[in-house]
Structures are given as structure tokens and as C-alpha cells.
């Protein structure tokens, strides 16, 4: 089935894994971590875009994931892997409840309520004693013997989940999701329960978001309510749009591009906002298909010109 050809970024993934080993321990490794996590977030946000919804609650679910991981390791000392799994499951369970309420109306209502939910959760963490209130939680370490492998592990998990989302998108579930976005009435008339599938899509995406949160917690060792404000969703959005919404490769590309650049934007202060803002505006206005689109159009241009040359000869 043509659908199942290996996507370009799988090749990249191998490259990344090798790189992570080559640079492990150094600052580069931590950049790779942030890229991987950012890409996973972008992928999750984009996955919900398949049903035509913009999921601003993603920040909340990343937070839920991160805090579950924090509680699991620092209080219940649950094992590392289980902790990560738990956080994914927790996020996805809550998302089912949230989704089945808000996805009824969908569209702007879903979007704005997602925004409200993010803010609400942030306040909830900051008022909860066991979660360290506003100072957050510390000491979320992976097992010591794991230290050198963390980077590799993070990258593998992220790419694994991205690949999972890719497969689902290409499968017939993907067809259902896209058809809901395109024309939910028709989808309904052929016996498909639209709300059910919306929630399924949302829950899968939230699972990935939760895992991303857990990974972030283990990479930073520290989490605080402020980490999970709506800006997180905005940045994820920037990765998706700048990279190109049409493919998961775009999300990864965008994540690499912006994370790497933001490494240099750290010292900019307010400038960093200008930088991200400009990136989004430019991407949305002038390159609707993002970097991926740019790449492909350049190619077709090159091939065209070459063809015309050959004709002349």
C-alpha cells in the first residue's frame, strides 16, 4: 500500500539517535532532548488538527503528564518507565472527560475552553500543597544508571510516538478523522459516531502530550506551574506552522528550526517574543505550507527549469 512507504523523517530519526550518542552529556545532547520533546508536542497538536480542531488544552495535558511523573517518582517512587506510562495514561483519561464535554460544540468553543482549562490547571497546581504550590516540584531524576542514556531514550520515545501518530493518520482511522474535519454531516450519515472518534483522536494526542510532559520533567528534573501556561501551546503551534502543517515531517522540521534558533534568542529577553511572533506571522502569511512546502516548491521549480532547458537543447 503506497500509504505505508517509510517517511523521510524515519531516516532522520536514525541520524538523530546516532548524534545523541556522539554528543551525549554535552549541551548538544540537551538541545537534542528539547528538539525531540518539542517535535512530539507539535505532532500532538497537529494530530488534533486532523479533525479540524485547535487544541489549546495541550499545555494542560503536558502539565498533567509532568506532574503525574513528578508525583510518581518523588512520592510513590514508582519505577521510571511505569511513571512515564502513567503520566501518558493520566493525561489521556482526563482528556476523554474534557473532550466529551467540549468537543460537542468544537470549533472556537473548544479552542477557547482549552485556553481556559490551561489557565485553570495552572492555578490548581499553584494552590495544591503536595504539588509544591507555585515553587513546583524538585528532584524528578531518572535512575542514575540511566543518566548517559536519557538523551537517547527521550529521542527514541518521541520518534516512536510520532511514528505511531503517523501510522494512525495513514490508516483508516486517519481517513475518519480527516472526513470529520472535511464534512462531519456526511460522516454522520454513513453511521460513524463523530463525537466518539473526535474524543478518540483527542485522547491519543493527549497521551502523547502527557508523555512529552513526563519526559520534560525528567530532563529538567524540576517542574513549576509556570511551565504549563498557554505559551507552551503557542510555541507548539509555531513549530507546526513554520515547519508545515501538511505532514508530521513539517512538525519535526519546525521544532528543530525554532528550538535551535531560540538557543540563540535566550539573551534577547522581550526580543524572543518578537522573534517567535514574527516567525508565526511570516509562516502563516507567506509560506502557508511552511518549510516543507518551501522545499517541495523549490524542487518542482528546479525540475521545471531543468526540463525547459532540456527542451531548448
Amino acid at each position: 500500500m503506497a500509504n505505508y512507504q517509510i517517511p523521510s523523517w524515519v531516516i532522520f530519526s536514525i541520524f538523530a539517535v546516532l548524534a545523541s550518542q556522539y554528543f551525549s552529556g554535552s549541551h548538544s545532547a540537551s538541545i537534542l532532548n528539547s528538539i525531540a520533546i518539542a517535535a512530539l508536542l507539535a505532532g500532538s497538536l497537529r494530530f488534533v488538527m486532523l479533525i479540524g480542531e485547535l487544541n489549546f488544552a495541550i499545555a494542560a495535558f503536558v502539565g498533567i503528564g509532568a506532574y503525574s511523573a513528578g508525583v510518581a517518582t518523588t512520592m510513590l517512587d514508582i519505577s521510571f518507565f511505569l511513571a512515564i506510562l502513567t503520566s501518558g495514561v493520566a493525561a489521556s483519561l482526563i482528556s476523554m472527560v474534557f473532550g466529551s464535554i467540549t468537543l460537542r460544540s468544537g470549533g472556537p468553543y473548544f479552542l477557547l475552553i482549552g485556553f481556559a482549562f490551561t489557565e485553570a490547571m495552572r492555578i490548581v497546581y499553584s494552590k495544591t500543597d503536595v504539588l509544591g504550590q507555585t515553587s513546583g516540584m524538585v528532584g524528578i531524576f531518572p535512575p542514575i544508571e540511566f543518566d548517559d542514556w536519557l538523551s537517547l531514550f527521550v529521542i527514541i520515545i518521541c520518534l516512536g510516538l510520532l511514528f505511531l501518530m503517523y501510522v494512525i493518520e495513514k490508516s483508516q482511522f486517519g481517513t475518519i478523522f480527516k472526513s470529520i474535519r472535511d464534512n462531519s454531516d456526511v460522516t454522520r450519515t454513513v453511521g460513524i459516531n463523530v463525537l466518539y472518534w473526535k474524543v478518540v483522536c483527542f485522547a491519543i494526542a493527549s497521551f502523547c502530550a502527557g508523555i512529552a510532559g513526563a519526559l520534560q520533567a525528567f530532563v529538567n528534573n524540576v517542574i513549576s506551574p509556570g511551565d504549563f501556561g498557554y505559551l507552551l501551546a503557542v510555541f507548539a503551534l509555531a513549530y507546526v506552522k513554520v515547519g508545515g502543517e501538511s505532514s508530521i515531517a513539517g512538525s519535526i522540521l519546525g521544532a528543530i528550526f525554532l528550538v535551535v534558533l531560540s538557543e540563540f534568542a535566550l539573551a534577547l529577553g522581550a526580543g524572543e517574543h518578537i522573534f517567535y511572533g514574527a516567525a508565526i506571522v511570516i509562516a502563516v502569511l507567506f509560506m502557508r505550507e511552511g518549510i516543507v512546502g518551501l522545499v517541495s516548491s523549490t524542487i518542482s521549480w528546479i525540475t521545471k527549469t531543468r526540463a525547459s532547458k532540456e527542451e531548448r537543447v
Binding site: H27, S28, V222, V292, V295
Partner: protein, 401 residues
């Protein structure tokens, strides 16, 4: 044709991936080894609500390093070193704090953190710095942030533990008739820690705490808050760690609904924002973390620096920002005493040195009985009050022991 383009496109996007990635890796790799002049890292908010503090911190760090350079630099066995401030924006949250920490420690190879602002980001910084043997100064207030477990962490300004008891006892003596107090704090780390300490302190001096609330940053309307504060008509209203502008707005609303009594902003850092918003209603407000630059005890040096700061920042210097000046002089003293630029050795030397603080007196480190180890910069607590719209110093309680 279509497929052809597809394949080519995949190929090219692969190339792009690789290029970007190597670029990213290079970003780290290139900067991985450190350089000659001693780099001093700052992790502070440079954007958002607290941007002004970060900008001031950066300004003061640069100021101190200039002064040290002009006075002959830091001399450690023969060689002269100078400080170079590298300031990154930690956005007041842990995630960015961790990012900044990695950039400073791993990319820039910084071994000394001249100052760090915000509990969450500081903890993120700490979880890396202590492991990598990097000495850090911080304004963060959590009592669990320093102590024997964190031998390389030092606090660069007074915290509620130092300020509140002297301040509160001073105020209660000045107003013996006061019996009840209502407390309000912003719902953030500083606010929550201040609230914990201040409720105890008020209890000690025998005032009844009739209410203690929090409000969210980004609140737009303050009348409900004012109404609730005045509900039990307390003699004292204590706005704890409320930032100046918001404190001003709340006092204004209190004035409107006719409450009048003893006003207090325990860790109020400046009069400018307070008077700008509060107008006449902030007359008589006590503050514990502000510096008056007009009193008799003020040196010309302080006046001069403050004037320059006002021009660049638009507001007077406050104790938070001054901490970033003092930390550098403390560092200088410790390096020269230990004749080393080894973070561990310097850290061992720090508790035993004295140095000239911005406040004019000689300062040292202490605080064993509170924190279990001398990691707290011992500075005078300055009680200030707003009189005719001007900040006036009422007295200095110099560190005991």
C-alpha cells in the same frame, strides 16, 4: 512526475534535517569550552511582569564588574581577572530556568552564577549547578533552597526570615493600639513564602490575623480584593509580597471604601510604582525591602549609581537588584582570600570573608540557626515609609549575632 518530486522532496528534506541538526549541535559544540575573563552568569526574568527586576539585576551586575575592573580587578596569585556578566531570560518558570541553566553551565561553561531570580527557575538551576560544582548566588527565598544539602548556594539579599520579624516588631511598637491584621499576597512562590513567615511574626507581636488571602497575577480589578481586606475592619493591612503597582491599586480602592489604618508592604521594593498608581492613598505605607536614596545615611556613591539606574531603567534601584551588585563583591573577596577561582574553594572561603556592601556597611555571611549553615548574606534591614509621596528611611536594624 509527481512521485519523482516526492522522492526528491524527501531527499532534500532529509538534507535540511541534517543541516539544521548539525547547526543545533554546533550551537552547543562550539561554545563548549570556557574563556579567560571570569564569566558570571545571571538567570533572571527579562520579559513578562517581572522584566524590570531582571533588567535592573543585569544593570547592577555590569555596574559592579565595572567598578571592580576600575579598582584593579580580582587578583588571584599574580593574575588579574575581571568579571563578565552573561544574562539570560528565565521567564520566571522552571522549564526556561532549566534551559538557561544548561546554556550557562554547559554551553558557556560558567562556573559562578552572580545571581538568580525566581524560586522555580532557581531550583532548576540548582539541580544542575550543585551536581556540576558551580557556585550560585540567588535571591530566591525558599528556606529549603539553601542549607547543608546545597553547599554551593548562597543567598544575596535579605529574605522574609531576616526582614519580617524586625520590621513587624518595629511597626507594632510604632502602633501599639493595633490589634488585628489582614494579609494579602500574590499567589506565587514569593507570596506564599512571605505569607508563611509573616503570619508567625504577627502572632509573635500579639496581633490577631483576621484574614490571609492570595490573588492571581494578572488580576485586572481590585475592588473585590479591597472589600474583602476591609471586611473585618482590621487595624493593619499587610500586602506582603504584592508588587508595588498592584499594592498601589489596592490601597487606592481601600481608600475609596473608606478604610484607614496602618499600611504595610513587607517586601515592597520601591516607592515609584506604588505612588504612581496609589497617589495619596499610599501615604504612610511601611516597606521592608526598599531603599531610600535621600536619607542622611545615604552615600554619594549610592546616590550617583541610583541616578544612573533611574535614567536607564525608569525606576529607583531596589534591594532585589542591589543583591546582584553585592554578590560580585562577595565573590571578589572570597576569591582573593582563597587565592583560587575554584568554585568549591571559593565557596569554602565565602562564609569567613567580609566585604563592602552597597548599603555602605561591611557585610558577611551567616544564618546558621535558620538554615543550618552560613549561606545567608547578612545585610541591614531598612525600614522605610512613604511620607508626602517620598520614600523616607525610618531606621536600620543591623544584623545581630
Amino acid at each position: 512526475m509527481k512521485n519523482l518530486t516526492n522522492n526528491k522532496m524527501q531527499l532534500l528534506s532529509n538534507l535540511t534535517f541534517s543541516c539544521l541538526l548539525t547547526l543545533g549541535v554546533a550551537a552547543g559544540a562550539v561554545a563548549d569550552e570556557s574563556s579567560k575573563p571570569i564569566k558570571v552568569g545571571l538567570s533572571v526574568p527579562m520579559s513578562g511582569a517581572a522584566a524590570l527586576w531582571g533588567q535592573g539585576a543585569d544593570w547592577m551586575c555590569k555596574k559592579a564588574s565595572e567598578e571592580i575592573r576600575d579598582s584593579g580587578g580580582v587578583v588571584v596569585d599574580g593574575t588579574t581577572y575581571n568579571y563578565e556578566c552573561i544574562t539570560y531570560d528565565n521567564k520566571y518558570n522552571a522549564a526556561e530556568g532549566a534551559k538557561v541553566a544548561r546554556a550557562l553551565l554547559q554551553r558557556e561553561g560558567v562556573e559562578f552564577i552572580g545571581g538568580s531570580l525566581g524560586t522555580a527557575p532557581v531550583r532548576a538551576l540548582q539541580s544542575l549547578s550543585e551536581r556540576m560544582g558551580v557556585l550560585i548566588f540567588t535571591t530566591a527565598w525558599g528556606d529549603q533552597i539553601k542549607g547543608p544539602d546545597y553547599p554551593l548556594t548562597f543567598t544575596q539579599m535579605n529574605t522574609p526570615h531576616e526582614i519580617l520579624e524586625p520590621l513587624i516588631s518595629y511597626v507594632s511598637e510604632a502602633h501599639p493600639e493595633a490589634e488585628s491584621v489582614a494579609i494579602l499576597n500574590p499567589n506565587d512562590a514569593t507570596g506564599q513564602q512571605t505569607e508563611a513567615v509573616s503570619t508567625k511574626a504577627w502572632g509573635k507581636v500579639g496581633l490577631e490575623v483576621v484574614s490571609s488571602d492570595f490573588y492571581e497575577r494578572g488580576t485586572t480589578e481590585y475592588q473585590p480584593i479591597a472589600l474583602r481586606l476591609a471586611r473585618h475592619d482590621p487595624d493593619v493591612i499587610d500586602l506582603g509580597a504584592t508588587p508595588p503597582a498592584e499594592a498601589g491599586a489596592i490601597f487606592k480602592e481601600l481608600d475609596v471604601i473608606g478604610w484607614d489604618g496602618v499600611k504595610l508592604v513587607e517586601v515592597g521594593t520601591g516607592a515609584d510604582g506604588l505612588t504612581a498608581i496609589g497617589g495619596d492613598s499610599v501615604e504612610g505605607v511601611y516597606m521592608g525591602a526598599a531603599v531610600a536614596f535621600n536619607g542622611p545615611s545615604v552615600t554619594d556613591h549610592q546616590k550617583r549609581v541610583n541616578e544612573e539606574a533611574r535614567e536607564d531603567l525608569g525606576e529607583s534601584l531596589n534591594t532585589v537588584q542591589i543583591g546582584f551588585y553585592d554578590s560580585l563583591f562577595a565573590l571578589k573577596a572570597a576569591m582573593e582570600k582563597s587565592q583560587s577561582i575554584e568554585p568549591k574553594k571559593v565557596a569554602e572561603a565565602l562564609p569567613s570573608v567580609t566585604f563592602q556592601s552597597f548599603y555602605g556597611n561591611t557585610a558577611r555571611f551567616g544564618g546558621e540557626e535558620t538554615y543550618g549553615s552560613p549561606q545567608q548574606m547578612m545585610l541591614p534591614v531598612i525600614v522605610t515609609r512613604i511620607e508626602q509621596g517620598e520614600l523616607v528611611e525610618l531606621g536600620r536594624i543591623n544584623p545581630t549575632e
